[in-house]
């Protein structure tokens, strides 16, 4: 018995000459959050559309909530909630009417649909706008309404294609809180995002895709560990060129000066750090701070997606040495 809520095996899909998905496989454990990370055109939306029964695949297999998305689409649809990348609310209906109709289409019945619509409007802070036509909503209000709509039937598996794009920082935080609440109730979430901090904050596992291929996957910590070793960073209290040069000499060939700090790869982690501290004490220089810096997800991202980037638009790979 597998506990995967989503399982994708060797999925491929082309549009004419464009290979949107080349070979994508991953699994999402039931009750966890998986972030699909990739640059524009990587194939995130294509993957989500296939998993939500909107698009067929050229080859490969995909299961959601235990059912095949191609041969058992109806069973899958009864168990998922979807918020696509583009708005799906009817402009000529009010927020409440939109939610109510989706509830009725989810076969909740008219009374329950209205009750759920009210609950969700409250939860997403749209009570004041509930009887206004959606065409008078702001972009962020539409986004929140769209999200509310995907939750109306309390789906087992939730798909969110860039859920927080276009939200202000406060709404974004609120969205994260709402998503954590859902996960606490057992909902499985697959979201795509361009924001690495969002993936870092929310996701239990991250799948990085680039040009239709999975280039890295794992927990945020695993990904960070796999890409680069940590750095030792020594920061001085004042800008003192001579002192900075002396620290650099101490730290070796790979050390680099950035403003008030000197950075060098910590090949042995904490052991390197304590060795550096001992040597600095011996030199007797005034030191503001010494610490170990782990690679950020940004570095992971540009490293794993930078290799296949012929145009050279990404930053050069960091945390690597030859």
């Amino acid at each position: 018995m597998t506990s995967a809520a989503i399982s994708v095996e060797r999925l491929a899909r082309s549009f004419g000459q464009t290979h949107a998905l080349v070979d994508v496989s991953f699994e999402v454990r039931s009750g966890s959050v998986c972030a699909l990370l990739g640059r524009n055109g990587a194939g995130k939306t294509t993957a989500v559309r296939i998993l939500t029964t909107l698009l067929s695949a050229d080859s490969g297999r995909a299961q959601v909530a235990g059912f095949d998305v191609f041969s058992q689409a109806d069973k899958v649809r009864a168990r998922i909630g979807v918020t696509g990348q583009t708005a799906t609310m009817d402009e000529l209906l009010t927020g409440h009417e939109n939610l109510e109709i989706i509830g009725r289409f989810c076969h909740l019945g008219a009374a329950t649909s209205r009750r759920r619509a009210d609950e969700l409007l409250r939860e997403f802070d749209l009570v004041d706008a509930k009887d206004r036509l959606v065409k008078k909503y702001s972009g962020g209000m539409r986004r929140r309404l769209d999200l509310a709509a995907s939750l109306i039937a309390e789906p087992e598996v939730l798909f969110l294609d860039e859920p927080t794009t276009g939200l202000d920082p406060i709404s974004r935080r609120e969205m994260w809180t709402a998503l954590r609440g859902l996960v606490a109730r057992g909902t499985t979430v697959l979201l795509t995002t361009q924001y690495l901090d969002e993936a870092d904050q929310l996701a239990d596992t991250i799948v990085v895709i680039d040009r239709g291929l999975v280039v890295a996957q794992g927990t945020p910590e695993q990904l960070k560990a796999s890409i680069g070793r940590p750095h030792v960073v020594v920061t001085l209290p004042d800008l003192d060129a001579a002192a900075l040069e002396r620290v650099r000499g101490l730290l070796g060939d790979q050390a680099e000066i950035h403003g008030l700090s000197v950075r060098t790869p910590a090949s042995n982690g904490l052991a390197t750090l304590s060795a550096v501290v001992t040597q600095l004490e011996r030199m007797g220089l005034p030191i503001y701070e010494v610490g170990l810096e782990h690679p950020s997800l940004d570095e992971v991202f540009s490293t794993v997606t930078g290799h296949s980037d012929e145009a050279g638009m990404t930053a050069p790979a960091t945390g690597k040495d030859g």
């Binding site: 029964t53 909107l54 649809r77 696509g84 583009t86 989810c106 039937a153």
Partner: protein
């Protein structure tokens, strides 16, 4: 274990029927939020009556009858036919927007949305038809064939309109954009609407046009309307089966069109990839 607070409701009707009803009521509500569209659909018939009844009608002489009485059953058919244009544009717009994507991820019957479109279009067309009838009465048209026949005639118009709506939905689903749908739907409705017996007796047309006009299903509908309303000005041309049996032709054709086109529309709509 996952907690679920909302459970699906029970229904004594099949869900496909409930879904089609939900979709219809959604489209009706939307339709009523577009007063400009409603206004246009009511204004156009009035313009038609004035334009063809008085501007052109003044110079058209028909033997042994009043031209405006002769014209009105034709204009009813014209209004019904042109109404299907907006359905094609509407469904093409739907398909290019995200709303349909969301519907496709919901556990609803595959036929619900297109049926909702068709039924709501039929219902939303009724106010325009009523205005058209009032205009016709105002310019002197009188149904003299009895109430039952008049009711049958309007039943035929609506049935024909329902078939035309399904053709409009088909065009809207196949077209790549709403502008394309407008053009693709506009040309045939224009030709069918004008190369017919709506305005003039095809007897005076050149032979090749006359054949088209006589066999045009619009001519059968209009002939049926004139006979049932008692507005005919003579027997139909002999040798054209559809004009000799206009009621049977209209009913049969409409049923065949709906029976073929509706399932095709449902398949086309539910095709996963577009």
């Amino acid at each position: 274990m996952r907690q679920q607070a909302v459970a699906p409701a029970a229904s004594w009707l099949p869900w496909s029927v409930v879904d089609a009803y939900t979709a219809t009521s959604r489209y009706l509500r939307r339709g009523m939020r577009q007063p400009d569209v409603i206004f246009g659909s009511i204004l156009i018939p009035i313009i038609f009556v004035v334009l063809f009844g008085y501007v052109f009608g003044g110079s058209i002489k028909i033997p042994g009858g009043n031209y405006r009485s002769y014209l009105m059953p034709g204009l009813f058919a014209q209004a019904i036919l042109f109404g299907s244009n907006s359905v094609a544009v509407g469904i093409a717009t739907d398909m290019s927007e995200g709303v349909i994507d969301r519907f496709k991820t919901l556990p609803i019957g595959r036929s619900a949305i297109v049926i909702g479109r068709a039924v709501s279009a039929l219902l939303l067309g009724i106010p325009a038809m009523v205005v058209m009838i009032l205009c016709a009465l105002a310019v002197g048209w009188r149904p003299t064939g009895g109430l039952g026949n008049a009711a049958l005639a309007f039943g035929l118009y609506e049935l024909f309109g329902f078939a035309a709506i399904w053709l409009g939905i088909l065009v809207g689903l196949l077209a790549q954009s709403s502008q394309a749908a407008d053009v693709i739907m506009g040309i045939p409705t224009f030709l069918l609407g004008f190369i017919s017996n709506v305005f003039v007796d095809p007897a005076n047309m050149p032979a090749w046009l006359r054949v088209f006009a006589n066999w045009n299903p619009m001519s059968a509908l209009v002939t049926a309307g004139r006979q049932l309303f008692g507005n005919s000005i003579g027997p139909p041309p002999s040798g054209v089966w559809s004009l000799d049996h206009p009621v049977v032709t209209t009913i049969g054709l409409a049923i065949v069109i709906v029976a073929i086109v509706a399932p095709f529309c449902v398949c086309r709509y539910s095709r996963t990839s577009r």
